[in-house]
C-alpha cells in the first residue's frame, strides 16, 4: 500500500482537533499545554507532508518545521516556568482557580 499525502493530512487533522478539544475542555494547565503541543505538531506534520509531496526538490518546509519545533520547545519551557510559579503561589494549577487578575 502506498502512503499518499492524504494519510498525513488526515492524521494531522485528527491531531489538530484533538489538540483543540483538549485545549478547550481540559481543566489542568499541564494538559492544556500538552494540547497546544499537539496543535503545533499537527501543523509541523502538514509542513513536512506538503514539502515532501508537492515540492520534493525544495527544503523550506523542513527548515520551517525545525524552527517551529525549536520555538515550541522554548515556549513550553516558559509556560512550564509560569505554571510552576503559579503552583508555588496558589498550590494549584486548575484553570478555574486562575482568577486573581480578574479582581
Amino acid at each position: 500500500m502506498e502512503i499518499t499525502m492524504e494519510y498525513y493530512l488526515v492524521i494531522s487533522t485528527i491531531m489538530f482537533f484533538a489538540g483543540i478539544y483538549g485545549f478547550i475542555t481540559r481543566r489542568n494547565l499541564l494538559a492544556v499545554l500538552i494540547s497546544i503541543e499537539l496543535i503545533l505538531n499537527s501543523v509541523d506534520i502538514n509542513f513536512v507532508a506538503f514539502n515532501r509531496f508537492l515540492y520534493p526538490d525544495q527544503m523550506e518546509g523542513f527548515f520551517f518545521t525545525l524552527f517551529a519545533i525549536g520555538i515550541s520547545a522554548c515556549e513550553t519551557a516558559v509556560a512550564i516556568a509560569i505554571i510552576i510559579n503559579i503552583y508555588r503561589n496558589i498550590r494549584n494549577i486548575q484553570v478555574k482557580n486562575l482568577n486573581k487578575l480578574k479582581d
Binding site: 483543540i20 485545549f23 478547550i24 481540559r26 492544556v32 484553570v95 482568577n99
Partner: protein, 633 residues
Amino acid sequence: MEYTILILLLPMLTFVGLGLFGMKLRPNTASYIGSLSLAITTLLAYTTAGFYFTMPRIDGIFARQLPVHFEWLHFTETLHIDLGILLDPISVMMLVVITTVSLMVHIYSLGYMKGERGFQRYYAFLSLFTFSMLGLVVAPNIFQMYIFWELVGVSSYLLIGFYYTKPAAIAASKKAFIVTRFADLGFLLGILLLSYFTQTFDFEALTSGNSAIFAGAAGVTFLGGSVISWALVLIFIGGAGKSAMFPLHIWLPDAMEGPTPVSALIHAATMVVAGVYLVARLFPVYVSAAPDVLIGIGYVGAFTSLYAAVVACVQTDIKRVLAFSTISQIGFMMVALGVSGMGGHQGLGYMASMFHLFTHAMFKALLFLCAGAIIHTIGSNEMSHMGGLRKYMPYTHITFLIACLAISGIPPFSGFFSKDEILTAAFEFHPNFGILMSFIAGLTAFYMFRLYYNIFWGTPATHEHTPHEAPKSMTIPLMILAGITVLAGFIPFGHFVSSDGLVYNIHLNWGVATASIVIALIAIGVAAFFYKSRCDIPDRLMHMYPQFHKAAYHRFYIDEFYLFITKRIIFNCVSRPIAWFDRHIIDGALNGMAYVSQRISYAIRGFQSGQIQQYAFVFLLGTLLIVLLVVLI
C-alpha cells in the same frame, strides 16, 4: 529719560525675588531688600520729577514724554495694545506720591510687622502693589491702565487677606475683590465702547482735544444719551468701584481687616484715588464730550462725601472712622473734578482735586500710621479701650494732631489749601453746592477731633500694661509725613498741575477760606466740648435720636441691603432655579446615560469572563461558522 523703566522694574523684580526665594531668606534680610529696592525706586522717581519739572516749557506747558513705548500685542493696523511710560504732570505727581507713601510704609512695617508670620510674603506683596500702582499711573493708554488696574485689585486682595487664618480678613478680602470686580466690568465695557468708536486706546489721542476722533460715534445714541457719554459713565463706574464711591463703597470699611500699614498705603493714599486719577486722566474727554456726566460725577461725589462723613461721626472702631473719612475725602476730590471746567480759572476744580489728592495721601497715610502705632501698643481698634494716651505716646500724639488739623482745614497745614480750593470751586459752581461741601468739611473736623480727643484725652482706659511709644522705625516715618503735611500746602501746585497745563496761580479766596476756618474751628470746639473730658451730651443726643444713631452706626444698612439683594433675591430667585436646572436636567441627562450604559454592561459582562478556554471555544465556533459560510456560498 529711559531710566524711568527702572521705576517699574525694580519693584517687580523685588516681588519676583522675594516671592520665589523670600522663604529662604531671614525675615529681616527680606524686609531690608524690599525697603532698599523701594528707596532706590523713590530716588529715581524724585529724579524723574526733578528733571521733568525743570524742563523748559513748550508753549507754556510741560510737554508729554514717552521715554519707553513699544507695541505689545499687534492685532491689526488700528487695533494694537502698547505698553510704555507716559510722563505728564499728573503722572509724575503720582509717582512722587506713591513712592513716598510706599517708602514710609515699608520703613514703618519694619517695626510694625516685626515677628509676624509671613514677613517675607508681606514685603513681596508690598512690592507687587507698588509695581502695579506705578504701572497704573504711568500708563500711556487705557488698556495698560486696565491691566495694572486689575493688578492693584489683586494685590489689594492679597494684602487685605494677609492674616489668612482670620475669617473676617478672608471675608473682607473676598468682598473687596468681588465688589471692585463688578465695577471693573463697567470699566472694561466702557473701554471697549470708547475704543470701538474712537479706534484708539491712546490717552494722548483721546485727550488731544481733536473732536474728529469722536466723529465715529456721532448720531449713535442709547436711551437718550450719546454713546460716548455711556462709555464715560461705564468708565466712571470702574473708577467709583476702586474709589469707593456710593453705593460701591461697602468694601472699603471691611478692608480695614488688613494690616494697618497696608490700609495706609492702599486704602487711604494710593489705590483708592485711582478712580479720581482715572477721571482726571480722561478729564478733557469728559469736559468736551459729556459735561453732564461730569456733573453727575460731582453729585455722586458730594453724596458719598456727606454719607461717609455722617457715618464716620458715630463709628467706634478707629480704623473704620478713618476709612469713612477716606471715602468722604475722595468724595471731595470727585466733587472738585465734577464742578471743574477746562482751562484757566474754570479749571480750578481740576487743580484742586489733584492738589487734594496729593495732600490727602500724605496726611491720611499719616493718620493711618498713627492709628497703627496706637493699635500696636493697645492691641485693640476700639476707641473705648483708649483714652489719655497723650502722656504715653508724645510723638504719635503730635503727628496725629498735625494730621487732624490738616484734614480739618486749619491753616497753615496742607489740607487747608487744597480743601479751600475745592470749596471755592464748589461755590463758583453753585452757592448751595459750596454750602453743602462746607458743611461736610465741618463734619470732617468734628469726627476727626472726636477721634483725637477720644484717643489722646478723656479718661484713660485701664490697660494690661502701660502703653509705650512705638519704636524708632515707626515714629520716623510719622515725623517725615508730618513734616510733609505741614509744608505741602506751600507748594505752588498750580505751577505744576492744572487742567490745561498752563501756569495757574493759586490765590486764596479769603471769603471762602475764613468761612471754612470758622466752621472747622466751631466743629473742633464742639468735639472738644463733647469728648475732651467726660460729658453726657453725646449720650443724651444718642438717646434723643436712637433710630438715627443706630442707622448711622450700621452705615445706613447699605451692607444689609446688599446682603438682602444677593441672598434673598439673587440667590433665591435666580441662583436656585439655575442650580435646580443644573442638578436635575443637565446632571440628570448625564446620569441617565451613565445608568443606561451600566445596565447594558451588566447584561453583557458575562462575555468577558477571563477564561481563555471559553474565548478559544467561541473563536473556534466563529471560525467554523465562517468556513461553513464559505463552503455553502
